[in-house]
Amino acid sequence: MCGIAGLIHRGKSSKVGHELQGMLQALKHRGEDSTGYALYGDTEGKNFIMRVKVGENVGEGSSSVAEDISVYDERKKTVENYLSEMGAKIVKEERVLPYSLRYEIEYNKEDLLNFSQKIESIPGVEILSMGKSLEVIKDLGNAKIVCDRYNLDKVVGTHAIGHARMATESGVDIKSAHPFWGYPFSDVSVVHNGQLTNYWNNRRILENKGMRFMSECDSELIAVYLAEKMRDGASLEEGMKDSLSGLDGVFTYFVATKDSLGMAKDTMAAKPLVLYESDDLVAMGSEEIAIRSLLPQEIDTYDPFDGEVKVWRI
């Protein structure tokens, strides 16, 4: 089933980590195999924030195989060597969990493709996000568990999207969890609710064009699909409109960039979405109770129509 939620503050910042946690926790009955957050900081720093995983969470319910923690240490060391080789200077390093790393790095080149390919050439290593305001945090468990584990409650930012996952198409692991980074574009992330039926056809075409897939989760296709459109010069909104015919199946998805938040709904309108829109806040989720966790007072909400694409800026 899965649940998605997103919010954007316009003209101000807020505790988006706490707010999104409340929204996703309200949707936990839609799936709590894993939960993911894409949080956008209120100011764009000059350094890149890179979230990397060097292993999987092998706790209860996980479909991953346990590895020795020394393997994680070796991978971490290789990541740091590669960063140094590519001229990226580590300003700050945080090992949140044995398998989860956060680096703040000084890196002056704009092309993240070669950079990402080099880092991900290390077996078992995946960049969860790369950007100057974006941080993707995802792990097994419901929203509260993941929020507490990564201390997201105090994160301040302008906008955020998140996902509560019931695993159907692929395993219970971090690599299949949402949000997906719009590799190799800085600060682009995607969450999706639905099923894509032309996943393998599109994947073969996109892989032949040099795009990368890290999981077998159909939702990853949306991030790769949009990234490929943007690589070819399309705007985010153009890419999203194109996806309504290019992607087959049922879907409602959110995509976020450093300064915007967008939603798209398939032409069958088969997946739910409730939207609240005011001058200073847009909040949306698979169910109204997600929005109510943020705004308990009586408000006007509505369902976007079939084939609708909307984008808001901060």
């Binding site: 309108a269 739910p272 169910e287 109204e288 109770i289 109510r292 308990p296 369902d303």
Partner: protein, 284 residues
């Protein structure tokens, strides 16, 4: 499958043309018999007094607790129940099978007031997906917008939304009337079998797709017609009926119903009335 044979001794219902067959075997005939109306008991119903009014705050209750509380209040004879702080909770007010004035001071989530038979419901907010699904009788008025699958499979009653609704409104509708003050999304009246849908605003694509029977009246623009949905001329009785219904629904005052588009089934995909009930059962 049960064997089917023609009844030799006709009951009152059968003489009224309601049933012409009896079932034997594992499935037994359990139709309502008007001859035994006095002995008929509808499980889970209460005699309530509309003048007995009470407020119920469901802020800290989950849907099961809230519905149980409503049931208790009806059992105590309360005929007007005002629900405070529903806050988008799912499945509130479901399964009410008697007369009742039920007022929600706020919005409902999914499956609100589903499977009801008789109550008059007013929702001073919005409703999520599948509101009033399987409604048998009664009246439901929503002051704001509604989600998708609004009035799915209703069999009777009046369902009124003063705002706009999502996709698949009246999907599988088998009777009753759905009235929408605003716009409606794609697949409105999808696989509709009986009843009427009135949309004062625009509708999306595939209107009335695969409809068996029933009638749609559209006031605004139509995105596209679905398979087997065709236009039909408006008659005087259509206009009179629409005027009366909109007045009762307190919606579309001064609306010119004569300019609405009437849509019915072309009956090329599946002719709903061509088969007798016995033949239909055999076909299934």
């Amino acid at each position: 499958m049960a064997n089917i044979k023609t009844s030799e001794k006709k009951t009152k219902a059968q003489s009224m043309g309601l049933h012409t067959e009896i079932l034997t075997g594992k499935t037994q005939q359990k139709f309502f018999n008007p001859d035994e109306a006095e002995n008929f008991y509808y499980w889970g119903t209460y005699d309530v007094d509309f003048n007995k009014r009470i407020d119920l705050d469901v802020k800290d209750l989950d849907c099961k607790e809230a519905n149980r509380k409503i049931d208790e209040l009806m059992n105590q004879g309360y005929g007007t129940i005002v629900i405070k702080n529903p806050q988008g909770k799912h499945s509130l007010g479901v399964g009410i099978l008697n007369k009742l004035n039920l007022i929600f001071e706020g919005s409902l989530g999914y499956f609100g007031v589903g499977s009801i038979d008789g109550p008059t419901v007013r929702i001073n907010g919005r409703v999520g997906w599948s509101c009033a699904e399987n409604m048998m009788a009664g009246k439901v008025v929503i002051e704001k917008n509604a989600g998708s699958c609004f009035g799915a499979a209703i069999r009777g009653g009046d369902l009124i939304c003063k705002g706009s609704v999502g996709a698949r409104t009246g999907i599988d509708q088998k009777g009753g009337t759905i009235i929408i003050g605003g716009d409606a999304g794609a697949f409105t009246g999808f696989m509709m079998q009986r009843g009427r849908i009135v949309i004062l605003g625009d509708v999306g694509i595939n209107l009335g797709d695969s409809m068996y029977d029933g009638t749609l009246y559209i006031g605004g623009k139509i995105g596209s017609y679905g398979s087997d949905a065709v236009e039909s001329p408006m008659t005087k009785s259509d206009i009179d009926w629409l005027k009366r219904k909109l007045k009762v629904a307190e919606i579309g005052e001064n609306y010119d119903v004569s300019k609405m588009t009437k849509v019915v089934s072309g009956k090329k995909l599946w002719n709903y009335d061509a088969l007798e009930p016995t033949e239909k059962k055999g076909a299934i």
